[in-house]
Amino acid sequence: MSITKVFYQTILRRPSRFFVVVAVGSLFFERTLDIGIESLYDRINRGKQWKDIADKYA
């Protein structure tokens, strides 16, 4: 609980820090979403993409 209080007092209470954290957080969020969806796509299409069969030809 005290972590929440420190977090609130240091970051959330100050709009400047709050928006910096949100902006940086959105970058990480974007990257995580990209990687996650990419890996999901690869798992669904396993064996169908060029990178799966490239070692047979190249």
Partner: protein
């Protein structure tokens, strides 16, 4: 000041003639009749009775309710945070946790919105970038092994002729020794070439846009057949109507044998 005169003279209900000797009494008793109670059927009758200042009986109930013991106090505990459900709990002890929760919800929403906004902006900015087919034609690679010394190769680049000239040692020497004072558009040879053996210029005459002929003219560089401009082996204007030197495009040497233009 005279505002109250009307109330003072209101008692006199008759016009007094000046010739009359009888002074009418201000408090002359008159027969008072109670007007019949108006019937307010419509807004019009109500308004006209109000305007004529007739007696208006108050119709509003003025009863005051004093006993409230049968009122149920609404229960808001479904809307309260657990930490403040206890009536004796202090707000100060837990407000940081409650506010932190609220701000975290807000922060998550703003993060998602920022991600979406960035995606939209990115899409629109990318639409201003050149298309892939344009980018594919924007730059070309030239194999320098195919151009023997002393020859000039003409290559199409972005719809214009590109001259790649393999200069001889004599030409290099001549261009490097040319004094800037002799030139109409003074540019040193070292400014126009990256490697002295290779001259890369856009093969368009700066006069009216003809394509000059290589290895011709008084200086052995280029000669424009349209109006007789003479260029030297560094593409600099030496004689004729053209005002400036031929343009040097952006280029770089990928390795010793390959040139990338664009």
């Amino acid at each position: 000041m005279f505002r109250n005169i009307s109330t003072a003279v209101k008692g006199c209900t008759e016009v007094v003639a000046t010739t009359s000797t009888k002074v009418p009494c201000a408090g002359k008793p008159s027969k008072q009749t109670v007007p019949p109670r108006p019937i307010y059927l419509t807004n019009f009758t109500l308004q006209s009775n109000l305007l004529s200042k007739k007696t208006l009986t108050p119709v509003t109930a003025t009863q005051i309710r004093l006993v409230h013991t049968d009122f149920k106090v609404p229960d808001y505990s479904a809307y309260r945070r657990n930490s403040v459900k206890d009536p004796n709990a202090s707000n100060r002890d837990t407000y940081e946790n409650r506010n932190a929760f609220t701000y975290m919800v807000l922060g998550t929403a703003v993060t998602g919105s920022m991600f979406c906004a960035k995606a939209v902006v990115h899409k629109f900015v990318l639409s201003m970038a050149p298309a892939a087919d344009v980018l594919a034609l924007a730059s070309i690679e030239v194999n320098l092994n195919e151009i023997p010394e002393g020859k000039n190769a003409t290559i199409k680049w972005r719809g214009k002729p590109l001259f790649v000239r393999h200069r001889t040692a004599t030409e290099i020497q001549a261009e490097q020794n040319t004094s800037l004072s002799e030139l109409r558009d003074p540019e040193d040879d070292s400014v126009r070439v990256q490697k002295p053996e290779w001259l890369v210029i856009v093969g368009v005459c700066t006069h009216l846009g003809c394509v000059p002929i290589a290895n011709a003219g008084d200086w052995g560089g280029y000669y424009c057949p349209c109006h007789g401009s003479h260029y030297d082996a560094a593409g600099r204007i030496r004689k004729g109507p053209a005002p400036t030197n031929m343009e040097v495009p952006p280029y770089k040497f990928i390795n010793d044998n390959t040139l990338l233009v664009g």
